[in-house]
Assembly symmetry: C2
Homo-oligomer: 381 residues x 2
């Protein structure tokens, strides 16, 4: 982190701004929830991909942590994180890198949901003389990967792992469909489904004489809505650290919780069309249109003034690679203000994982809106 402490007006545009206090508030909120629920919180680092954020997010800076790529695991392990779960079913061509991380002293746990994968993980473990910790991925909502909790293959695959030389660490599920669940009651139902699927799968394994120490559930919506996690050992979430319009749209957070925005400059206007042109296009905002399916479509993002106050009913209606077109939300009748070229605005993102990924770092803001530093982020696989 560089200590620059300068005015926001000196930043280049477009760039990503991160409100540190909002972020810390989001972090504390879920940490307290997890504590109240009696489970370990395993934050997902795929949203931030930043050592500076991870330091503030992880217990003692060492974990537990979740990642979405081995590149993340490698960077965070190098920085001292010692307990990492890699949340994508392990590709067979990545096993060498998994072993390298284990040898380095980082407990990296992989996901498995099919027999050929289990056999390959077991074979790699045996060949290296190093048991790779593996979780069985459970499907709780038909969203993407994973085994049904009562699939007979669960025991078969669990046995391939347990007897094949790996460490069968337990079960994990993620209710990806909960991102479409509007309101706390609906999210609580997904949280129950996650818990029930994971606990049921754990019982299934244990009933067959297999170990299942870890019972892991979570997504940002379910983590904030779960009321009872009996039988669960850990809770995971990622996007909550920054929050975004998709989460606000389903009631997981308020607009005031959004910690990340994109700073942009007005470069012109098409007054007859009611458009303001800015220098943030999809390269700065991402192509994510996650609110398109919600009750309120936020286009490519909600427009704020430079201080972060929402300009009612102004959205980024269209994007080219480096152009954003700001317009009134259709049907709102809002007036597009006559802002001079050079005016700075901030855009709140639909899906912050996607928007953050378009940037090489975060310009950190304090409560007064001063820039206090720059936190690098990384990408790649």
């Amino acid at each position: 982190m560089t200590n620059t402490r300068r005015a926001i007006s000196n930043l280049p545009t477009p760039c990503a701004l991160l409100g540190e206090r909002r972020m810390m508030r989001n972090i504390d909120r879920l940490a307290k929830r997890a504590e109240g629920l009696g489970v370990t919180l395993r934050p997902h680092l795929k949203t931030c991909k930043s050592l500076d954020v991870a330091q503030r997010l992880l217990t003692g800076g060492v974990g537990p942590a979740m990642v979405s790529t081995l590149a993340e695991a490698e960077v965070f392990a190098k920085a001292g994180v010692t307990d990492i779960t890699y949340g994508v079913g392990i590709a067979l061509n990545k096993l060498d890198r998994v072993l390298a991380l284990l040898r380095r002293g980082c407990r990296l746990t992989v996901l498995v949901d099919n027999a050929p994968q289990a056999r390959a993980v077991a074979e790699a473990s045996r060949a290296a003389g190093l048991p790779i910790p593996a979780l069985l991925e459970i499907d709780s909502d038909g969203h993407r990967s994973g085994l049904s909790p009562d699939d007979p293959a669960l025991v078969e695959i669990g046995r391939l792992l347990d007897e094949g030389g790996t460490e069968l660490a337990g079960v994990l599920t993620h209710a990806g469909e909960s991102y479409g669940a509007v309101g706390q009651a609906a999210q609580t139902r997904f949280a129950c489904a996650e818990r029930d699927a994971a606990v049921h799968a754990a019982a299934h394994l244990r009933g067959a004489g297999l170990p299942c120490p870890v019972v892991s559930v979570g997504s940002t919506p379910t983590a904030h809505a779960a009321a009872d996690l009996t039988g669960v050992t850990e809770l995971r979430a990622g996007v909550y650290v920054f929050c975004d319009l998709v989460m606000a749209g389903i009631g997981v957070c308020e607009i005031d919780d959004l910690a990340l925005s994109v700073l942009t400059s007005v470069i012109g206007a098409q007054k007859d069309k009611g458009w303001l042109m800015v220098d943030a296009g999809w390269m700065a905002l991402s192509r994510d249109r996650g609110t398109a399916a919600q009750a309120v479509d936020q286009g490519y993002g909600v427009v704020c003034d430079v201080e972060g106050n929402v300009l009612p009913d102004l959205i980024v209606a269209q994007c080219s690679q480096e152009h954003g077109t700001i317009a009134a939300r259709p049907g709102s009748g809002a007036e597009v203000p006559d802002l001079a070229p050079g005016t700075l605005l901030r855009i709140l993102p639909n899906h912050v994982c996607a928007t953050a990924a378009q940037h090489e770092g975060y310009h950190v803001l304090d409560e007064e809106g001063n820039v206090t530093g720059y936190w690098e982020r990384f990408g790649g696989w």
Copy 2:
């Protein structure tokens, strides 16, 4: 460029593959068209953002070139490109960097479409004693920025530039709406509209006694469809270097012209749903859904085998951050093959500017599918 020459099966997944011969064929095709039309070709470097590609694309490696960010201008200028047009209306906070590039000997031309911007460019030119070359942006299709060719403001703003200490370099237009024009006849109409708008605007300026040496038009669809560019001096295009499914969908290229694909590993399947799971999600493919509005919706991309042969009617139907779900195109009745975990596939992208931007470089393939090198790309602003 690193000379590695290895098998594609040794690459990490996901990663971007670039077929060098297809790329060179695409480059040659448009170079010949421009020659036939009697105009200078100014390739847009926003798609590749790579010195290795630029070297093969630009005349003598020095330009003319087009860029979408000042970061591109700075990187390419440092590498010896001396004639660059920056294709986004200039933000006032970027004028210092423009002047720095001019001082370094790179002729960087900026875009202007409003009076406050023209005044700021003129003032910066005078203050630096260095006339910033500026083009007036013309709107030929209502797509985003620019002045109507017969807008009286054109002369007013032209005069602010010409008399204010900048160098009024001419006019430029881009038919962004041509990306939705299906078939050559429709694209030719957009090419005529671009030409007519630019030539008319040039006449408007000249009629008022203002200089207009440059008359610049172009987009990948119009550049490939223009039949007569009388009065035009230069043609611009970018995406043609790699081509993509959006361009194939409107008939600008064939699937066989797509030079970039994303290599991915099968990590599992949900056989009851007809899904194959792969390790390329939107982080590797981008969130771009540019074919959603076309006659054939390609989801998040078309699936090929590791050699690049299209697997008929298989598309990436859904994406999470690092998961891709491959399924049959709805209604096609195609069978999803039973591919073992570890199988390598290639995904052809909707919009290659967006997909390429998700990667830090290109693994270059020769005609036999051997990896001959790695070309870095860069991002940022």
